[in-house]
Amino acid sequence: MPWTAVATAVLFVIGLALSLQTSPADYQQGEAVRIMYIHVPAAWIAMAAYAVMAGASLVALVWRHTLADVAAEVTAPLGAVFTAIALTTGMLWGKPMWGTYWVWDARLTSVLVLFFLYLGAIAIREAHEDRARGGRAAQILALLGVVNLPIIKFSVDWWNTLHQGESIFRASGPTIAASMLWPLGIMALAYTLLFAMLMMLRIRTMIFRQQVRAASARRASTSELHEAAHA
């Protein structure tokens, strides 16, 4: 089954990355810098998940593709969790490094906004009693909030902030040391595969749930017919 294959691949890559990360050179910050390997990929996935959700929402809205709506539905809680991981690991890293858990600089604020956007997307889907209407509302909301993504990305360039500036995705090439870039890249890949695996699992579950719902509705209507006929 493709899913078990992906699951195995994910676990393998994560394991590999974890073993690699015990070996990169000691940094000025000491061992605490290793949180970076958890924090940074989580933040990348948090943003990428929103892009996936917005893209799926666009497809669902314009082409009325049901699978796209399921994808958008599934991505919201996943993205929220990765954002929460990024925020909490960032806070835990900030305390020893900056002396504070939180500061209202541009990047932290806009990632917090991203977290609330995810919660809003989940909430609006649940709030509507009509599933189709809730789906449509969540799609529109996802597209409304897409302006936050470039703000997050460029916030550390536009404003002088406490958060680390861009050292990897820069036009003139990354400035991070190679011994750290490689484990970081592997962890990023691991996170991506983990996200993809979880997303596929949830989509499959959603489809099964839909089939169960349809089957029980069919059974209920046929049993009603039987009762009406034999009554």
């Binding site: 604020t109 529109i140 597209l143």
Partner: protein, 215 residues
């Protein structure tokens, strides 16, 4: 054009007559007046905090009336008429948003002069406050219109409106209060950009949201 004007007139009249506009404006004025009681009345501090707080108060005041904006129409069936009318729904949505701004946003902008008075802002400071509200509030009305269209007919809709509107309003608040507090032309430019972007994206998505309420 007649249909557009008719919808606009209806929305403005409803907003004023059912007390929605009055509620927002009263809330704004009271909150501004309560600021010195909350943080102390040092003139320097009020001059620094006043514009930002006025922006926050304006944002919350607009939020107050958002819940009923589309839900009232949904309940009494006029949303069906709006969607099925000969006038394109985009223009209908523009009429609703424009009416909201004219009855709530524009008076708020004028009432900010009152905030300038209370916080003893100088001439340039007052101009910055009024100008930033003038640029930013239309975009907020547009986003608010879309959000209220998304949440109409939902139980506990008012909570949901707040949860959804506040993250989307954060860029407005940051740049708007930054512009009002004198953080330079950059804030004004960003505020203008966010406002125009919100107007255009709401024009795309708002009618879609309205239509989905009817289907």
């Amino acid at each position: 054009m007649n249909a557009f004007r008719a919808i606009l007139a209806r929305e403005i009249t409803l907003s004023i007559a059912t007390g929605g506009a009055g509620l927002s404006l009263t809330f704004f004025v009271l909150t501004i007046a309560l600021l010195p009681l909350a943080v102390g009345s040092e003139p320097d501090m009020l001059r620094r905090l006043g514009p930002g707080f006025a922006w926050l108060a304006a944002l919350l005041a607009q939020l107050l009336t958002l819940e009923r904006l589309v839900q009232a129409d949904l309940e009494d069936g006029s949303l069906d008429l709006l969607v099925g009318a000969a006038l394109p729904l985009e223009l209908g949505f523009v009429a609703k948003t424009l009416a909201h701004w004219l009855s709530v946003g524009l008076p708020l902008t004028v009432l900010s002069l009152f905030a300038a008075l209370l916080d003893d802002l100088d001439g340039p400071g007052t101009l910055r406050l009024v100008l930033s509200l003038l640029i930013g509030l239309p975009g907020l009305s547009a986003i608010g219109g879309t959000i209220s269209a998304l949440t109409a007919g939902v139980r506990r809709g008012s909570l949901l409106v707040a949860l959804l509107a506040l993250p989307l309003a954060v860029p407005f608040l940051i740049f708007g209060s930054g512009a009002a507090s004198g953080r330079g032309l950059g804030s004004f430019l960003f505020l203008g950009a966010i406002s125009v972007f919100s107007l255009s994206i709401s024009l795309l998505l708002g009618p879609s949201a309205l239509r989905s309420q009817i289907e």
